[in-house]
Subunit: 187 residues, 2 copies
């Protein structure tokens, strides 16, 4: 099954939005950068917001798949995998063109909590939370929910800090903190 024009559009729009921002990227620029006609775009998506939502859906899928897989590759036990999250993050931060978290940026540009794009971003974070709580439970750590949320606070902090770029290696700072927190939840 060949990728449809729709998939191609979403994929390419993802790159442009990620590098340029949502409000800063007009539909004309999207035509220029993707080579897909505006008519075609508006046949697949009623509005720009709808396109952005599709982009975020794809990003959610890609990002969580990548993170979960990488955590499994880098850690044997659930406990190791939780820590390995920060090694995965370090790899991400080191990529050329790293520009922070797409969902944080989306919620920065669409601030109203009732906006579908904001909600979608919150959903992404919620799914990450569920997954990490599951891992903490599998690892039989004390207070798995609190611990998982704390590790995610470190993750979000590291993502933002890596983008602001005023600190050397936020991923490793976070990893060390995570390991210490995890130690205290071992029972």
């Amino acid at each position: 099954m060949r990728p449809t024009k729709r998939d191609e559009l979403v994929q390419k729009a993802l790159k442009v939005f990620y590098q340029n921002g949502f409000n800063a990227t007009g539909m004309d620029k999207l035509v220029a950068k993707t080579g897909i006609s505006k008519t075609s775009m508006y046949k697949h998506f009623r509005t720009k917001d709808d396109l952005i939502i599709a982009v975020l859906r794809l990003r959610d899928e890609h990002f969580r798949n990548w993170l979960y897989r990488r955590m499994e590759e880098l850690g044997e036990t659930p406990e190791e995998q939780l820590i390995a999250m920060f090694d995965a993050l370090e790899e991400w931060f080191a990529e050329a063109g790293y520009k922070g978290c797409m969902f944080i940026k989306a919620s920065s540009e669409f601030q109203d909590a009732s906006h579908p794009i904001h909600k979608q971003s919150a959903d992404h974070k919620r799914m990450l939370e569920t997954h990490m709580i599951g891992l903490a439970e599998k690892a039989e750590l004390a207070n798995p929910e609190v611990l998982a949320r704390q590790l995610l606070l470190l993750k979000e902090g590291a993502i933002v800090t890596a983008h602001l770029g005023h600190t050397d290696n936020p991923a490793q700072d976070a990893k060390l903190a995570a390991a210490q927190l995890l130690d205290m939840h071992r029972q």
Copy 2:
């Protein structure tokens, strides 16, 4: 000394930008919301970007003053003050109209690291870092720099998470984690 029109503009623009976003707020909207004529605006600031930079400067001053003062009020010793940061954050998150960190949002909309607005945001975070390292040193904690950066990761994470609003009380999750990390740095 009465506040000048310039101060009034920066102050009011701050509120509008914070609630509406930077790119999403046009100069015409600023005229409408501040009651200051466009001619006057452009006499004080050459460009919109210059105005944004002035806004961020004011925000930096206000925010750091507020945070440092609140930390001193809520904690006796430097050690207590570091932990009290998260109580201060909780107060902030609870304010009506809380919309996250202005500098994270600025760096989300002006992503290029070489952009003056992005740099200004990084400067703000750097100044916070310096202050927290100083406190950690005063508290005679081990590895004051690493610890301070870790506490700030928790802070940024909590700010983002509070804005995404998918979690109950990120400030208290962060505070608990901070207290545990701090315990491990006591010598």
